[in-house]
């Protein structure tokens, strides 16, 4: 009886519990129906507000590398600190704590914190140390937002070329501006879930659109060449206390810019601390009257048109020549000079006469062919096309003055591009700064190949001009300070008067000194242009700019591994020719005679190394198949075994060097 009763009670209990569960479950189901179906819209909206967080991912900017893939400009995510003034409890205390960390005045920070606006930036792109210090204070109403910041690890190096970015970050100057569409990525967005405490939860179903990183650039610039160039320019400017300067190093066969140095310059990491004129890339934005460097193009035009030959003689009027109602002067008085000597000694009167053989129209058409008066379309913003009036607008004296580079203006990039055409057998190449554009996986998006800008002169004429320009760097020429022992350098100096802004006339003191050249002259690998603006003291291009060229060229020889001319010729001082021909000017008090290294060496006798440089001694030893042991530096002063004798068993020789006494 008792068992039956308890069984019945058990059934009742189970039923009651079941009903209870069913009841509770029904309530849940009904509530679910209400929330999920009847009030779906409202609830979803409420949920999204509380549970979802929409985060915009800033775009990442591509990296800029040099030609050897060394970083020149990189981006890094850094924190920006903001304040929501309404949420700040103690404004004064907060400002007091933040001011020293942000290195701002207390009043400045307090002003921001007590602003009427709901959101105020306290400081954009602070350093990681600053962000950590602020975070550790746990201040209410203070928050962080991540932003991208551009860093230039080499500071001033190539800064005028690279440019800089703004806060957005968009390119504002230089390559950063001209390649902005490639460098700048697309912003992304991510829809995150978050819990009641605001912590992010990653769920697979959440939509995410990654920010794309911009493409990377590989420049044609070589960091090492750039450094050497900037250093040489800096020293050159310091020596002559000049206002500004520009150097461009170009590969004439490809049009690649290997270095582009500009002074004054700036540090792009803090560009706002500098004046806008310091940001300017003078190599493309500024134009100047090129002066005598322009004679190289006059010679090219006249030789190409065959209106003159290198051996044709011009009478240089002993320094003063009336032309077009004015008097044209030479720095030194010359009598008769051959066309080659006109360029070598840089005679303005001779140049004027060569231009006359060519005529205005033909000269103008060649100047245009060399690219003067039009942009080179280099991949840099703000290019200046220079100033070249058509012959119809030329004054009576213009033909004469343009012949020696006055009355025409050019940008440094135009000048080096034109010079490179002579170096490249008459073929002009379009200058460019970017080699490849590639993504992070290394896939090449765009490759900028060497592009021809047309043939200007024939290869024969180009070689003739190169030979003439070579003589301008040799003894007696105006560019001897650019001479490099063992290498054939072709070059031309230029010293042009500047127009005085106040008097609107040519200034007697303000000059632009320049030197442009290429080497090795027979097979040019590098073309260099040096422009020094307003030097003090001696202002000639041969004195001011040529040493800068030499300094750069000397370093490039070892860096680019450019071998000396085969069968190299040593320079030995010898007396100058005693007589002059007719009324030709006597110029060379001392000239250099080329003497073959192998001259006078007997096959089996021990050669005389004394008086030779280490390089010469090595070359001679190599020629005679002698193993040498060297000690010291400078000129050879002693050797063992002595010269003239014969070798015993081994062809070995010990040579001692000592620096020459100055």
């Amino acid at each position: 009886m008792k068992t039956r009763c308890s069984r019945r009670f058990l059934k009742l209990r189970v039923t009651l519990i079941l009903l209870c569960f069913i009841g509770l479950f029904s309530i849940i189901m009904l509530r679910s129906y209400q929330l999920q179906i009847l009030e779906k819209e409202r609830c979803t909206e409420l949920l999204n507000k509380q549970y979802r967080k929409y985060v915009t991912l800033p775009p990442k900017r591509g990296t800029i590398y040099d030609r050897e893939k060394r970083e020149l400009a990189v981006s890094l995510d850094v924190d920006s600190v903001y304040v929501r003034p309404a949420e700040v409890k103690d404004a004064k205390e907060t400002a007091k704590k933040l001011a020293p960390i942000l290195k701002c005045s207390y009043q400045f920070v307090l002003g921001k914190i007590t602003s009427d606006r709901p959101f105020v930036w306290l400081m954009r792109r602070i350093s990681p140390a600053q962000a950590q210090a602020i975070q550790s204070l746990h201040l209410e109403g203070i928050g962080f937002s991540e932003e991208s910041r551009r860093f230039y690890p080499n500071r001033e190096l190539a800064s005028n070329c690279l440019g800089f970015t703004g806060i957005d970050p968009k390119g504002l100057e230089g390559i950063e501006l001209s390649y902005d569409r490639y460098l700048n990525g697309k912003p992304g967005a991510i829809l995150l879930s978050r819990d009641a405490r605001g912590r992010n939860i990653y769920l697979t179903s959440i939509r995410q659109e990654d920010a794309t990183k911009g493409y990377n650039l590989q420049l044609t610039i070589d960091q090492t060449i750039q450094h050497v160039t900037e250093k040489a320019l800096e020293e050159g400017i310091k020596k002559c206390r000049a206002q500004a300067g520009t150097v461009i190093v170009m590969a004439p066969r490809t049009g690649e810019i290997l270095a582009l140095a500009v002074r004054p310059t700036y540090n792009p990491n803090s560009f706002w601390d500098y004046q806008p004129h310091q940001w300017r890339n003078r190599a493309v934005t500024d134009s100047f009257e090129p002066g005598s460097t322009f004679k190289a193009f006059l010679a090219s035009s006249a030789l190409e048109e065959k209106t003159t030959r290198p051996q044709d003689v011009y009478f240089c009027e002993n320094g003063a020549y009336p032309f077009g109602g004015r008097i044209i002067h030479d720095v030194h008085k010359y009598g008769s000079l051959t066309m080659e000597e006109v360029i070598k000694y840089s005679s303005n009167i001779g140049a004027c006469k060569i231009a006359q053989t060519l005529g205005e129209q033909k000269f103008y058409s060649y100047i245009r062919k060399f690219g003067f008066g039009s942009k080179t379309h280099i991949d840099l913003p703000g290019e200046n096309s220079g100033m070249l009036a058509p012959p119809e607008q030329w004054s009576r004296i213009a033909l004469g003055t343009i012949a020696f580079g006055q009355g025409v203006s050019t940008s440094p990039i135009q000048l080096i591009t034109a010079m490179s055409a002579i170096a490249n057998d008459g073929m002009m190449m379009k200058p460019h700064l970017v080699k490849t554009i590639f993504d992070d996986q290394g896939t090449i998006i765009k490759e900028i190949r060497p592009e021809s800008a047309g043939r200007v002169i024939s290869p024969e004429t180009a070689r003739q001009v190169a030979s003439i320009l070579k003589s301008a760097v040799e003894e007696g020429g105006t560019g001897t300070q650019a001479f490099i022992d063992g290498y054939a350098v072709a070059g031309k100096t230029g010293t042009a008067q500047k127009v005085d802004r106040e008097t609107k006339r040519y200034s007697a003191h303000k000059m632009t000194s320049s030197f442009m050249g290429f080497f090795p002259a027979e097979k040019p690998q590098v073309a260099i242009l040096v422009v020094i603006d307003e030097p003090e003291g001696v202002k000639y291009g041969g004195v001011v700019a040529a040493p800068v060229f030499k300094e750069i060229a000397n370093t490039l020889i070892s860096y680019l591994n450019i071998a000396p001319v085969t069968g190299r010729l040593a320079l030995v001082k010898s007396p100058a020719p005693a007589a002059t021909v007719g009324n030709r000017a006597f110029i060379n008090p001392v000239s250099y005679q080329e003497v073959s290294l192998s001259g006078g060496v007997m096959e089996d006798a021990i050669p005389d190394f004394t008086g030779m440089s280490m390089k010469d001694a090595l070359a001679l030893a190599d020629k005679c198949d002698i193993t040498v042991e060297l000690s010291g530096s400078g000129m050879a002063i002693d050797q063992s075994p002595p010269p003239g004798g014969s070798f015993n068993n081994k062809r070995q020789c010990w040579i001692r060097f000592q620096p020459p006494l100055s």
Partner: protein, 83 residues
């Protein structure tokens, strides 16, 4: 008996469902933390790369080479060109 078994299976399923949801959320937190950590590490890595690039700056190296180590550029006669 069958009902009880059915209820037990239902309860177990519900418990499993709740457990799996909890696990998903928990893993979600872990991923979130890992992502933050990854971001921080990438940031540090990038910072170190920039620092490395700054330290490799040629002007700095030249200063050390010439100042501290007493090195100099080779004179032309000290160079031997190998063909």
């Amino acid at each position: 008996m069958t009902t009880s078994l059915g209820v037990a299976v239902l309860v177990c399923s519900l418990i499993f469902l709740v457990w799996s949801r909890f696990q998903v959320t928990s893993v979600g937190y872990q991923i979130s933390r890992a992502k933050d950590e990854q971001k921080q590490l990438l940031k540090i890595n990038k910072g170190l790369k920039i620092e490395g690039a700054s330290l490799k700056s040629l002007s700095r190296i030249e200063k050390i080479a010439k100042g501290r180590l007493g090195l100099n550029n080779p004179e032309p006669q000290q160079m031997v060109h190998l063909q």
